[in-house]
């Protein structure tokens, strides 16, 4: 064969041509990546390399909490107190909600947002109140999610607040590929906001629409920050991670009621330790007619609806 094989031996001309093309390519890629300049503050190396919650030693946890306090102060201008509240021994939390009494005022929704440092813009809410017609169907597809009444309750309807059911058999925990969400000894399913990769598989798995994703960086006005924070609870979240109702771990693990229970004007919301036979929730489960939402899915919620009559 008289010709050169096409691929071997690079002449000077082809080298020059190749390097021109290459540098043009690099320039084009750089131009393409230009939006990254607006990235702003990038997380620290410590944040990037932070270990999984369950693998942190107490000393490491202390450092992590201090770092998070710094982060919050830098971002929101308020010094918070971040603690790692642990489950209490002999406690399993259960929630009971009286459907006969609930008037759909949504005070719980807003108290929850304020307590748990949820993003205000876009606003993230853990509790969704459904307005359902009193027509004997109990059909979710007839639910009104966006009712805007001048006063509640409206005749002909009843209200059904839905939030995380803290399932005993949680589908969200089962599907998480990195175990960033798990069930604690007191029955609360929590999220490690520093471990979640943001795949949103748990959100697809949840039958109660209980999980919320940070589609962008959350924003909370400085004066609205609740400085009593817990690591697995209400500390501010990051862009791109999942969050959910955690029964106000920063309150309930310190012996207080969740914000939604405290604020409810009708006393529809009951909360307590199911392992204590004298607790209010134990009494309700023993004596009231109870309804479990989507019981057929076998998720075994720790959240019960009950009726007065």
């Amino acid at each position: 064969m008289t010709t050169q094989p096409t691929d071997t031996g690079m002449s000077r001309r082809s080298f020059l041509r190749a390097s021109t093309v290459l540098s043009a390519g690099v320039a084009a890629v750089a131009a393409g990546l230009a939006p990254l300049r607006k990235l702003g503050e990038v997380g620290s190396v410590d944040e990037f390399l932070q270990k999984y919650y369950k693998e942190l030693s107490p000393e490491e946890m202390k450092r992590v909490l201090a770092r998070i306090e710094d982060e919050v102060q830098r971002q929101y201008g308020v010094r918070p107190h971040v603690r790692d509240y642990k489950p209490m021994n002999g406690v399993e939390f259960v929630y009971a909600l009286n459907l006969t009494r609930c008037v759909g005022c949504r005070k719980c929704v807003h108290a929850c947002v304020a307590e748990n440092n949820q993003s205000r813009n876009p606003e993230i809410q853990y509790i969704r109140v459904l307005k359902l017609p009193n027509d004997g169907t109990f059909d979710m597809d007839k639910a009104d999610h966006n009712y805007q009444p001048t006063s509640v309750p409206e005749p002909g309807f009843f209200y059904m607040p839905v939030q995380c059911h803290q399932c005993k058999n949680p589908p969200c925990v089962k599907v998480c590929p990195v175990k960033a969400t798990w069930q604690e000894a007191d029955g609360i399913t929590v999220v490690d906001y520093n471990w979640c990769i943001g795949c949103r598989y748990c959100e697809a798995a949840c039958p109660y629409f209980a999980r919320r994703f940070n589609f962008t960086t959350p924003s909370i006005p400085k004066e609205d920050i609740n400085t009593n924070m817990s690591y697995l609870g209400n500390r501010p979240r990051y862009k791109g991670v999942m969050e959910k109702c955690h029964f106000c771990t920063q309150r309930t693990r310190a012996g207080r009621y969740p914000a939604c229970v405290e604020v409810c004007p009708t006393g529809s919301r009951k909360f307590g330790n199911i392992l204590d036979p004298d607790s209010e929730v134990s009494y309700i489960l023993r004596h009231k007619r109870v309804y479990v939402l989507k019981a057929e899915l076998g998720t075994l919620p720790r959240f019960f609806y009950y009726f007065d009559v």
Binding site: D7, A143, V175, W195, A205
Partner: protein, 560 residues
């Protein structure tokens, strides 16, 4: 090892060489990749907020494309099965193309999953050993394993086969056949596992149906081979006009002179051949002498023709020295099918089958060739080793024949019928007995409560799939114009069916009955286009490397 690095280096080098069409195609794809990169950079800064996704519809076109492409990757196996299990030689080289497509498709899958992550910087949490891997609990962790495993398997198999071809060595059975069989099961597993991602969610009745897995396989085995049918024709078209060797000066030797017979072949010529064809040693001296009866030694100057397409004569040729190019004229276009070096044979297929010469062979350098009558070839092939090597080489040819495309056609045909049948089953069971499970289906097919964003998508997919199915069932789809139209319809129809028709409606209405619709945003669309361009770019480059190796143009023998 050095040999292997040299092989990789030359493969990489060849990817940068081509004619203007190649540069135009690669350039366009690169530009689109950069557009996608730009859109992704914007998303990286703003968050997934700039997609159309929401808490209600938390997966969109990214996961839709991912699901579709897992199917494309799995479908490569449809080419492997006939070749390795049924020994259908027609599809032999196509296996490598299919597996290269699988590699490109998996790369796209990984890209689509990555852009869907809220925290791509934390991907290391998924790496077993370093992060926390929820296996076997989470189906997503299964998917991570099977997809990456499939990627490695396919890279290994293609790489090994091409490397052997490059060295003109027969692949050692134990080095790849076990992997091929593993890959077959693995391919089915990647798609089944992906289906289980959805099927496993009890809270989503639209997905929680056992027929979704079989439907995934059926649609994958429709869209994958349909894509390969189109890709092969593009390769055929591109190689026909010499896309990969712009500097080839040899015009098709229309009136070129014929090579002259130098003399009768003698045992010394066979000795010289045996240097390049050691298997010849297994033939006894008596047999070899018998072979030489009627054999001649031809001497050809560059450009001289050794045999011409269309002739009928029954000799086989073995190259002793020099190089022979085999070119085939098809529908007015000329395509190099082989580059034959010392120790290799040509013309043996028509010698054995008695068919007219399928191609023209001419010398590309001063060449010596032993010309054996049919009788002698059969005598040589009585040696099992020699028979093996000769038939292996017959099989290794780049055969993108019409026949192989038609075999693929029947795969697409059957799969599409099964796919439509399974879909009909699903729709019947949902609609005949109206219950709460059918709300998403109603929304998808008819619209619900005045919302019908997905209705046009669904009916477009149905129209495409059913038209394609009808065309494929008619004999007219043996004509390529119709076949190609049907293939394009299959690919788009199934892309919609599995994407906007499966991923999105699973979220609508939400588990609490809320109707929130989903439309991809511009930025999201650009990211998708970028990833598709990236995948096509990978596939193009892979083919650019593989085709010359399969044609024998890029071989160890011509290393400089």
């Amino acid at each position: 090892m050095r040999n292997y690095l040299r092989f990789l280096w030359r493969c990489a080098g060849v990817a940068f060489v081509g004619d203007w069409r190649y540069y135009a195609w690669v350039g366009t794809l690169t530009a689109l990749v950069i557009v996608g990169l730009n859109a992704y950079a914007k998303q990286f800064v703003a968050g997934l907020e700039i997609t159309g996704m929401s808490d209600q519809v938390s997966w969109g076109v990214y996961i839709a494309n991912f699901t579709f492409l897992v199917g494309m990757a799995a479908a490569a196996v449809m080419l492997v099965i006939p070749v390795y299990i049924y020994k259908n030689e027609d599809l032999h080289d196509l296996v490598i193309f299919g597996e290269l497509l699988a590699v490109a498709a998996i790369l796209m899958c990984l890209a689509f999953v990555t852009v869907d992550l809220g925290r791509p910087d934390r991907f290391w949490h998924l790496i077993p050993g370093i992060g926390v891997f929820h296996f076997p609990g989470s189906m997503l962790s299964w998917d991570v394993l099977v997809l990456n495993g499939y990627l490695v398997l396919n890279i290994y198999i293609c790489g090994y086969l091409l490397f052997c071809r490059y060295n003109n060595r027969k692949p050692a059975t134990w080095f790849y056949i076990p992997f091929v069989f593993v890959a077959i099961f693995w391919a089915i597993s990647i798609h089944t596992v992906t289906a289980f991602l959805y099927v496993g969610l009890g809270g989503r009745p639209f997905w929680n149906s056992s027929i979704v897995g079989p439907r995934f396989l059926a649609s994958a085995f429709t869209a994958g081979p349909a894509f390969i049918i189109l890709a092969l024709q593009v390769i055929r078209w591109a190689t026909a006009t010499g896309m990969h060797d712009p500097q080839h000066p040899h015009e098709p030797p229309g009136e070129a002179p014929r090579a002259k017979v130098k003399r009768a072949a003698n045992p010394g010529d066979l000795e010289r051949l045996a240097v390049h064809l050691p298997e010849l040693e297994t033939v006894s001296a008596d047999e070899r002498r018998a072979c030489l009866e009627g054999a001649t030694l031809l001497e050809a100057a560059p450009g001289e023709v050794l045999l011409r397409q269309g002739e009928t004569n029954k000799e086989a040729f073995f190259v002793v020295s020099g190089r022979v190019v085999v070119r085939r004229e098809e529908k007015g276009r000329i395509r190099t099918t082989r580059n034959v070096g010392p120790g290799e044979q040509f013309g043996e297929v028509s010698a054995i089958a008695g068919t007219p010469r399928a191609a023209t062979a001419f010398a590309a350098a001063p060449t010596e060739v032993i010309c054996l009558p049919e009788e002698s070839l059969r005598r040589l092939m009585r040696s099992p080793k020699l028979e093996e090597i000769i038939t292996w080489r017959m099989g290794e040819r780049l055969m993108m024949s019409d026949r192989s495309l038609l075999i693929l056609r029947s795969i697409v045909q059957v799969s599409m019928i099964i796919n439509v049948f399974l879909l009909a089953n699903e729709i019947f069971s949902e609609f005949y007995n109206s219950n709460s499970h059918d709300v998403s289906w109603r929304y998808l097919i008819l619209g619900l409560n005045g919302r019908h964003a997905l209705v046009p998508w669904f009916w477009t997919a149905m129209a495409l799939n059913i038209t394609a199915m009808v065309i494929l069932m008619l004999p007219l789809s043996r004509r390529f114009k119709w076949l190609n139209a049907a293939c394009i319809m299959c690919i788009f129809g199934i892309w919609i069916e599995k994407g906007m028709g499966l991923v999105v409606p699973g979220f609508i209405p939400s588990p609490l009955g809320e109707m929130v619709e989903y439309q991809p945003t511009m930025n999201e669309t650009f990211v998708c286009i970028g990833i598709w361009a990236f995948g096509l770019l990978c596939f193009t480059v892979f083919l650019r490397m593989a085709v010359p190796i399969l044609q024998g143009e890029l071989v160890r023998a011509n290393e400089s």
